[in-house]
């Protein structure tokens, strides 16, 4: 459907890619680790390596979670990934763009065996 208006009603998306000064908006979540209440939002250059994103940005962000000590960068790379709800074979040596990540994409990762504070089903 479309809006019912008086006069022309068309505006740019307030969050269009051009507004982010060369970066794109990417959302990342380590699933089941809901001590962190929501996925992170980061403005990231499309040519940044996924491995660098994880190593330098995402893992430090999760540092407060006890599971973060148990998970290495390799564990994350081997984890089960979803990009925009479709399975992804994550390649840490490739850029975000090469991994198929786009503006406003959502990356979700699960590492089997690391299920949060008290194991399966509590999501903490």
């Amino acid at each position: 459907m479309s809006v019912n208006s008086i006069g022309d009603y068309s505006f740019d998306s307030r969050d269009k890619l051009e507004n982010f000064h060369g970066a794109m908006l990417v959302f990342i979540q380590w699933e089941q680790h809901l001590v962190y209440c929501a996925p992170f939002a980061f403005p990231l250059p499309p040519d940044m390596l996924l491995g660098d994103v994880m190593k330098n940005i995402v893992l430090p962000a999760y540092a407060y979670h006890p599971d973060s000590e148990k998970a290495t960068l390799e564990d994350f790379e081997k984890g089960q990934w979803l990009l925009d709800n479709k399975p992804l074979q994550a390649d840490f040596t490739k850029s975000l763009a090469e991994n198929g990540v786009k503006h406003q994409s959502i990356l979700r990762v699960t590492i089997p065996g690391l299920d949060g504070l008290v194991g399966q089903g509590s999501a903490a």
């Binding site: 008086i6 006069g7 009603y9 505006f11």
Partner: protein, 334 residues
Amino acid sequence: MALDIKTTIIKPKRHTYSHIAERLGSDRPASRYEEASFDVEPTSNFHYRPVWDPRFEIYDTARTKIQMEDWYVLTDPRQFYYGTYTINRNKMFEAAETQLNFVETRGLLANLTEADRTLVQKIILPLRHYEWGANMNNVQITRFGSGTIVTQATAFNAMDRLGLAQLICRIGLAFDAALADTDSSCLHATRAQWTDDELWQPLRKALEDSFVVEDWFELFVAQNFIMDNFVYQFVYTQFDDMLIEKGITSISLMTEIFRKYRADSSRWVNAVLKRAISENEENKKQIAEWVADWSKQVTPAVKALALYIQPEQADKAVQICEEAVQKHITAIGL
């Protein structure tokens, strides 16, 4: 013991809200008017454009040609916020009701000759529609004006005008009560007079033209300054003087509130305009232009009334009216 605590540790950290302190220049206790009025209207980061008028933001200073560095300098000398306003108006309208009741219980309307009664009914009662139009215009400004300090006062003024429209209805009902020989209310005729009688067409035209004015500040000038000054001066002062000269005081008692209201609201309207005019030359020029335009539109309305009341005195009456309005125009700095 409670005293001990008070003197030792119950010291306020601040005396008012921080945006108020910023305006006052220091953190001192602020008045209720200040806390209720300053900076209440949102100014930035609006989420969506109105679907009914996508040209503008939800609140948009571009809705008028008048430019103010800070809209909050347009303060109301009466310092009305909802509480003080409501208490004040309750008193004002209670007093009016008392006077109306006095006229009714003393049977003062029964004294009028039929010709005078018809004249009064024909001049006063249709003005309930004028008051309703003034209500519409002030509600419009309340939605689209800039700055709570301006729009709360127009909101109050809008409700005043509804109250005054209803008071005219009460005057009509007082006439009804005084006249045992008719079955229908004299109010029934007013709308047809307002819409069809030649007497009212120039005023109705001016008012309807104001309904479609886009610039809210122009509307403020047109309604609250020009049309009101002309209409109130002519009807509630000059016409009333004429009735008193004829020995008719009952009408004056019933319409006393209109003069009180006008004196009160003029103080605010003039203060707003005077300050806006002093802001810059462009404002002054623009407001002067609106004043001239709307005076031109409303003069025929007054003339029509004057011709109806006393054709031979009409030119003089209009001239007196124009002179009285001119005093207000001079007072605001034009």
